[in-house]
């Protein structure tokens, strides 16, 4: 009952594993040093490629020697998880990372000083998850290609025909429902696409509204939702679709540091999981909104720039702040008052994570929060947020300490959102890259 595509993928992955682990075995057979050498998954070994807008793993490697008391456990765990995955591949199983945790978890008992000592292969899923990540970089393969499944939130509708498993599916014929993306998007084959761009909506409810309103039909778009933080399959699906058909990608998220962060995950990926970035990130993704300047215009930022001290501090971080195009807000004063939500401490901290402490310090004028942020001093932010456009957005955030949800735009009228806001922003190029 299993699809032919799956069977082929299994075969390929198992062979790769056998080949790579054979090296270790050979080393043992000739009584050498059994060592796993893999790229370091650390921040310091993460490189941002400005040109291609990708995070890459650097040249540093870490070694796991079975001879070293501090590394032996990790060595054992890596072999253990690899053997379970291999076993699943050849037995047509579809484990999840939670399954792998359960399957690998068992005790190792031995006698020490007259007492029976019990140790578990691992205690928490966090541990086995880390080992799986190690294995991904060690084998240079995504876990999905090892037929490891996971829960999947991403949905898509639009003029798009795909082949998944043994079926050909027309995603423009989903009625009021949607197509739920499979956990192994690399096995999807895109058959036919008739769209001008892809619109990714952070929130499922807004996706439902736009879908129901017929947005994708009217505007020739593919509509995708990640239903919050995007999972790996949604990211890979988006990347493949946009690459293979050269489609522009617009991200519609809340106007707050979490929304910006979701955009960032789609576009670049997580800085601590940079090895995924090369295949999961969509560097061409653009942030269409909701922008802080859509809410407030740019008066507040101009005011910040009028302050000499702030101006010189911001200019020392990035050039071109003065050359930014003027921006008009999409909301009236009164709408703003009703729709805006006060930012919380964690929003603020997330914003500092994105853009760095110095910009927060230059733009914030709430002294109490400023002193609370002190502990974040030294955070430099992500390179891809160090652009004049993003600094303007974040500065307005720091100054107003406000955020706004996409729903607020929908509240102004679904027509406004669907037929005015989105099309106008796309046609006028009012996005951030």
């Amino acid at each position: 009952m299993v699809s032919a595509i799956d069977l082929e993928a299994r075969k390929k992955a198992a062979e790769l594993m056998r080949k790579i682990f054979m090296n270790i075995v050979s080393e043992i057979e000739r009584e050498g040093r059994p060592v796993l050498v893999l790229p370091k998954r650390t921040l310091s070994n993460t490189i941002y490629d400005y040109k291609n807008k990708l995070l890459l793993l650097g040249p540093e490697t870490s070694k796991r020697s079975f001879m070293d008391v501090n590394e032996a456990r990790k060595f054992m765990q890596t072999v253990l998880v690899a053997s379970i995955i291999y076993d699943s591949l050849v037995n047509n199983e579809y484990p999840t990372i939670r399954d792998l945790y359960y399957r690998g978890k068992h005790s190792i008992s031995y006698r020490s000083g007259g007492k029976e000592v019990h140790e578990n292969t691992w205690e928490e899923q966090k541990e086995s998850d880390g080992v799986i990540r190690d294995l991904e970089v060690y084998l240079n393969i995504l876990r999905e290609e090892l037929l490891i499944l996971s829960k999947e939130k991403g949905k898509v509708v639009g003029n798009l025909v795909i082949r998944s498993g043994d079926d050909v599916i027309d995603l423009s014929r989903m009625g009021h429902g949607a197509y739920s993306i499979e956990p192994t998007p690399d096995l999807i084959e895109f058959k036919d696409v008739d769209a001008e761009y892809i619109l990714v909506v952070e929130k499922d409810a807004v996706f439902q509204q736009l879908h129901r309103y017929g947005f994708w039909k009217k505007h020739k778009a593919i509509l995708i939702t990640s239903a919050g933080q995007p999972d790996r399959a949604t990211r890979r699906f988006l990347r493949r679709l946009s690459d293979e058909y050269n489609l522009p990608v617009y991200i519609l998220a809340d106007s707050d540091p979490y929304g910006f962060y979701i955009y960032s995950v789609f576009k670049i990926g997580s800085i601590t999981l940079s090895y995924e970035s090369e295949r999961l990130a969509t560097p061409r993704a653009k942030f269409i909104g909701v922008m802080m300047t859509d809410v407030f215009g740019d008066d507040i930022f101009r005011e910040i720039l009028r302050d000499k001290d702030s101006r010189s501090r911001l200019n020392s971080i990035v050039k071109g702040l003065d050359k930014l195009a003027k921006k008009k807000p999409y909301l009236s004063e009164a709408e703003r008052r009703n729709y805006i939500i006060k930012a919380k401490q964690r929003d603020l901290e997330r914003a500092v994570e994105l853009v760095g402490y110095d910009i927060a310090d230059a733009c914030l004028n709430n002294t109490e929060l400023k002193s609370k942020l002190k502990k974040k001093e030294g955070l430099t932010g992500y390179p891809w947020f160090q652009t004049p456009e993003w600094i303007r957005e974040l500065c307005i955030f720091f100054r107003t300490l406000s955020k706004l949800e996409i729903e607020a735009m929908a509240s102004k009228g679904l027509k406004f959102l669907a037929d005015h806001y989105i099309p106008e922003k796309i046609s006028s190029g009012d996005w951030i890259d």
Partner: protein
């Protein structure tokens, strides 16, 4: 204007004053009173023995002596130097009469203690104090029954007598009957005796309680701390009033003589330099000194640099042997160590800080944030206000326990003893030592001394254990690694797995130097769970 009273002035005797305000000396209620009485008598007993080089034998008895009322008779017997019979009435019946008003380390509170107990007894039970005493070499033993005339602050002798000694006995037996609250006082009294026993391992202490319990701490060492001697005042500790007292109580002719003979640490050269600085002629007769000159002299004395530190003859540290013996006596620890620091001075008073540490054995588990702390000042245990004591501050703020491989709770007790001619107590209750920088520094240093030793011990112990575990830590993973690799490259072949196991054993042995049989032994004990 309403009816106004006439002011009636009157003088009261010290006895009447302390009778009225007995809480000053700790006699605020029956529970405190019985505790305080035991304490005063025990400390007098120790002062009469160890301060004179005698190995103390102390017998304490607390008996309920009235069927209805809570009257307790407290008797403490020592084998000390005794009290001259002519002094006994004043020593027990006159407030502000004591052998403790000299510059020398003694136990006890203000020299008031035993008189307060006598006063408290006669106000609650009406019973007089009874004293039996004899000095070494005396032929007779003397017996007194006394009370205090509160108005006159005079002893009233109710009965006295003496008899010939049958055997060579010397010492003092004091019995006082007071209204007490044994139930509430009991834990504190037991804690007091326990902590006293720690710093007097050279003493036999036996106590009989109203519950017919016998508490016995046998002597375990034959060494006594050097007794303290009286000394003259040190220049840094002088004030105007003290200077005038020194002048009036001796017949010094010149100012120079006053300085050299009236103080410690001043020789001829120093005296000259002091007087030059104070602008006073060294030959000037003492009686002709003006008030301004006296003031100037005091200021010069107090602030004079380059003066010898105060003499330490007046203070009596326990010494590391005594501390070690004491800690062994109560904790039988697996590790014990103690250090006496060299003398230091603050405000003209010499002081010495000592510390001991006990680890493991029967040492109880400490709290989550600090070790068990045993605090002593001039050999007296401090039982209250631990939180505000400088030692607690040092323990919590100045010491990086991690650095010494200690994480709490741990079976660790530390003992800190501060001895001085003047302990910088915090508050009138004398239950905690204030945060004086000089003292704090010494406590920190002494604790670092003993903790360094503890660390050595702990790290040696840890290293031995680590070596033993090395083989285990590598070998235990062999079966799992062999099985896993066999699954991936050899369809889980058992033969292949066995081969990998042998190879891994030999690799480990070769690379780490652990013998193959030792690895095999671990290997055989391994069981893999489901």
């Amino acid at each position: 204007m309403s009816e106004t009273p006439v002011e009636k002035y009157r003088a009261i005797s010290p006895a009447e004053f302390f009778y009225k305000y007995r809480e000053i000396a700790g006699f605020s209620n029956p529970a405190r009173a019985i505790y305080q009485t035991v304490r005063e008598l025990v400390e007098n007993a120790l002062d009469a023995t160890d301060a004179h080089g005698i190995m103390p034998d102390i017998k304490i008895s607390i008996r309920k002596v009235d069927e209805i009322q809570e009257f307790y008779r407290i008797t403490v017997e020592d084998n000390g130097i005794g009290i001259p019979p002519d002094v006994v009435p004043d020593a027990f019946g006159r407030v502000l009469f004591s052998s403790k008003y000299v510059l020398r380390q003694t136990r006890g509170m203000y020299g008031l203690g035993v008189k307060m107990a006598v006063l408290y007894g006669q106000m609650t039970t009406g019973r007089p104090v009874e004293v039996i005493t004899s000095k070494p070499g005396f032929k007779r033993i003397y017996y007194f029954k006394l009370r205090i005339d509160v108005n006159r602050n005079e002893p009233v002798i109710i009965e006295r007598g003496s008899w010939r000694k049958n055997r060579e006995w010397h010492g003092t037996i004091v019995s006082i009957t007071i209204e007490g609250d044994w139930g509430r006082a009991k834990p504190k009294i037991k804690e007091y005796l326990f902590k006293t026993a720690i710093v007097t391992p050279y003493a036999n202490i036996v106590a009989l309680t109203p519950d017919d319990e016998i508490i016995y701490y046998p002597r375990i060492i034959d060494k006594i701390p050097r007794p303290p001697l009286e000394v003259k005042p040190h220049p840094h500790g002088v004030d105007l009033e003290l200077l005038k007292q020194i002048i009036s109580s001796h017949n010094y002719t010149s100012v120079e003589e006053l300085l050299i003979k009236g103080f410690q640490s001043i020789g001829e050269a120093t005296a000259k330099s002091i007087l030059q600085q104070a602008g006073i002629d060294p030959g000037k007769p003492v009686s002709e000194l003006s008030d301004n000159e006296l003031l100037s002299l005091v200021n010069t004395l107090k602030s004079m640099k380059d003066i010898r530190a105060p003499s330490i003859k007046a203070i009596s540290p326990l010494g590391s042997d005594v501390i070690i013996a004491g800690l062994k006596r109560v904790f039988q620890p697996e590790f014990v160590y103690a250090v006496s620091r060299r003398p230091q001075a603050y405000q003209g008073h010499p002081f010495i800080v000592e510390a001991g540490i006990a680890y493991g054995g029967k040492t109880p588990m400490s709290d989550d944030d600090k070790p068990i702390i045993l605090r002593y000042a001039n050999k007296i245990p401090l039982l209250y206000d631990e939180g505000s004591d400088v030692t607690t501050m040092v323990v919590k703020e100045d010491i990086s326990w991690d650095h010494y491989m200690v994480s709490f709770p741990a079976p660790i007790a530390i003992l800190v003893h501060v001895c001085s001619t003047k302990i910088p107590f915090k508050g009138v209750g004398k239950e905690s030592i204030a945060d004086v920088p000089e003292v704090r520094k010494e406590i920190k240093l002494v604790l670092m001394d003993v903790l360094r030793e503890l660390k050595k011990y702990l790290s040696k112990k840890a290293k031995e254990e680590e070596l033993k575990k090395r083989a285990e830590h590598l070998a235990k993973y062999i079966p799992e690694v062999a099985r896993g690799l066999s699954v991936i490259v050899a369809n889980g072949s058992k033969d292949f797995e066995v081969k990998l196991v042998q190879k891994l054993v030999s690799i480990i042995s070769r690379r780490t130097g652990i013998p193959v049989p030792e690895i095999q032994q671990v290997l055989e004990s391994i069981r893999i769970g489901a």
